[in-house]
């Protein structure tokens, strides 16, 4: 990606405190992450002319911008659920390269856990009285958010022979990575047996196939490579990006429950970066549920459709495995405040800078961050590199 000789880079990243923030407002989470990301970049709020964020009501980003004291001349609040922050970063890259912005701050903040407790995790299917428009066609039956992903998991198992144990192995690896992350919500090691013997929430998904529910946020700062040359930080290049959607919130409208939007935006992002999946050193893949990761590794082209179960088992996603993934412990173990996409960007950048700590992938040069939102409704792929393309 580049236009006019301008090339977008990420120069600052940060997470807020997490996973439990009972004393903080949602805006305060944004603010803490923003301050830390700007400090990481060696910049201040005064230099920010672009802002992006998203949340669950209209004009969300303008509200956060006001809270932060920003009067940006570029702003974006595209909402693609869990994939939002990959989309916002892609848009910011285009804006920077087109000359529409010099420094874009992107923030995320959520106090979902403190606000609502654990009920949000299964209540997404809606209930009586609140199912506007087409939502009614799925809302009548008592389906849940977990249920929607369970429908995809069941179909994948039936069509390709994927096993509960293979799905469980995703959760086991994420937990192993979380052990190296002092902030992670769940750090005690688990086994495949622990996952498949945990309570079924919606068959075939068990409690430990589901992400945690957290408070938390993060931020990143983007600018041009030229500007980054004056900063202390190691710039991380946006090599390629793309996003896609196939349906809104009704899983009954998903064309094929075994193929996520990653099958569209993954190949596009790789083509735009001019590389292939084999060149990826470390992956940050949205892991709302274990099945989400299995679908994503297939759809991004790390293995053939249907072979995701075999790909992820036996430590396939671990350090030294086929594709080291979610090195911070992911949404399954570290932190999932609702729209986790920002965490994927932060961890990808940290890995490429060599700041991965206990779970650093040696000599990581190219990373992929892929967000998935809604009911497998949206996908957004960012391919990041430590060297200029």
């Amino acid at each position: 990606m580049s236009q006019n000789g301008r090339r977008a880079v990420i120069v600052g990243v940060a997470t807020s405190d997490y996973p439990k923030l009972p004393e903080m407002s949602e805006h305060a989470v944004h603010g803490q992450a923003a301050d830390r990301a700007l400090a990481d970049a060696g910049l201040t709020m005064a230099g920010v002319d672009g802002f992006a964020s998203t949340g669950f009501f209209p004009m969300y980003a303008t509200g956060v911008a006001e809270y932060l004291g920003l009067h940006p001349t570029y702003y974006d609040e595209t909402n693609a659920g869990g994939a939002s922050f990959e989309v916002l970063a892609e848009h910011a890259a285009y804006a920077i390269e087109a000359g529409a912005a010099e420094v874009v701050l992107i923030t995320y903040g959520s106090i979902q856990l403190s606000q609502m407790g654990r009920r949000l995790g299964t209540g997404g299917g809606g209930g009586s009285g609140f199912a506007p428009g087409p939502a009614i066609y799925d809302a009548l039956w008592g389906n849940t958010l977990v249920g929607s992903y369970a429908l995809a998991a069941r179909r994948h198992m039936d069509q390709f022979g994927t096993t509960a144990e293979q799905l469980a192995s995703v959760a086991v690896t994420m937990r192993a990575h979380a052990a190296g992350n002092p902030q992670a919500q769940e750090r005690d090691p688990i086994t495949v047996e622990d996952v498949v013997s945990s309570r079924l929430v919606a068959d075939p998904l068990h409690k430990l196939d589901c992400c945690v529910i957290s408070d938390g946020g993060g931020a990143c700062v983007m600018t041009t490579a030229e500007r980054a040359a004056d900063l202390e930080t190691t710039p991380i290049y946006v090599l390629g990006a793309a996003h896609a959607t196939t349906h809104h919130m009704n899983i009954s409208s998903m064309p094929d429950l075994t193929v996520s939007p990653a099958a569209q935006c993954g190949p596009l992002a790789f083509a735009r970066a001019g590389i292939g999946p084999a060149e990826i050193d470390v992956a940050q893949l949205y892991d709302s549920f274990t099945i989400t990761v299995v679908l994503t590794v297939e759809d991004l082209g790390f293995c053939a459709k249907g072979e995701g179960g075999a790909f992820v088992e036996n430590g396939g996603l671990g350090l030294g495995g086929r594709l080291p993934t979610n090195t911070d412990g992911g949404g399954l173990s570290a932190c999932h405040p609702g729209m986790r996409g920002m965490f994927l960007i932060v961890e990808a950048v940290r890995q490429l800078r060599g700041q991965g700590g206990a779970t650093q992938v040696p000599d990581a040069r190219i990373a992929v961050a892929h967000g998935t939102g809604g009911m497998l409704s949206t996908g957004a792929t960012l391919i990041l590199g430590k060297e200029a393309p």
């Binding site: 009586s128 389906n143 995809a152 929430v201 068959d203 009954s252």
Partner: protein
């Protein structure tokens, strides 16, 4: 396999929610109320579709209604064992399924009159109608 997390609740059971018909969906809900399952058929490209909408999803052509056989196969299913919302929590465990109708469209439904642990992808099912309001019915499905 039968663990549940239903909180105890002494209140009387809450009825199944009823849809509020709109311009696009009123004929669909009314037909279900009268014991018939309709699908939409495109006058231009002959594609069949649900949910009901004003134009063809494949080609934006005009659509008409036709009666469906009410038979289909299970595309996928889940057994819901945790849901805090009423009335659903009173049903736990219950089967939510996606059914591919003979005519092509896929619909979400509850599979009833069967052991949740005996449901399989690909099993044949047929519609069983239930009236939920003066202007709407729904299609549950049972093993065929």
């Amino acid at each position: 396999m039968t663990q549940t997390t239903t909180p105890t609740d002494e209140r009387p059971p809450k009825p199944r929610p009823a849809p509020v018909p709109d311009h696009d969906s009123a004929p669909y809900w009314q037909a279900l109320h009268d014991g018939r399952l309709l699908v939409q058929r495109c006058r231009d490209c002959a594609a069949a579709q649900l949910y009901p909408r004003d134009r063809c999803l494949a080609c934006r052509g005009p659509v008409t209604w036709e009666e469906a056989s009410g038979r289909g196969t299970v595309y996928s299913f889940t057994v819901i064992r945790q849901n805090y919302s009423r009335p659903f929590r009173d049903w736990i465990p219950y089967v939510v399924a996606l059914v591919d109708l003979e005519e092509g469209p896929r619909v979400m439904t509850n599979l009833v009159d069967c052991d949740p642990d005996a449901v399989q992808v690909g099993m044949a099912v047929r519609a069983r109608f239930e009236v939920v309001s003066d202007e709407a019915g729904i299609a549950l499905f049972v093993p065929d």
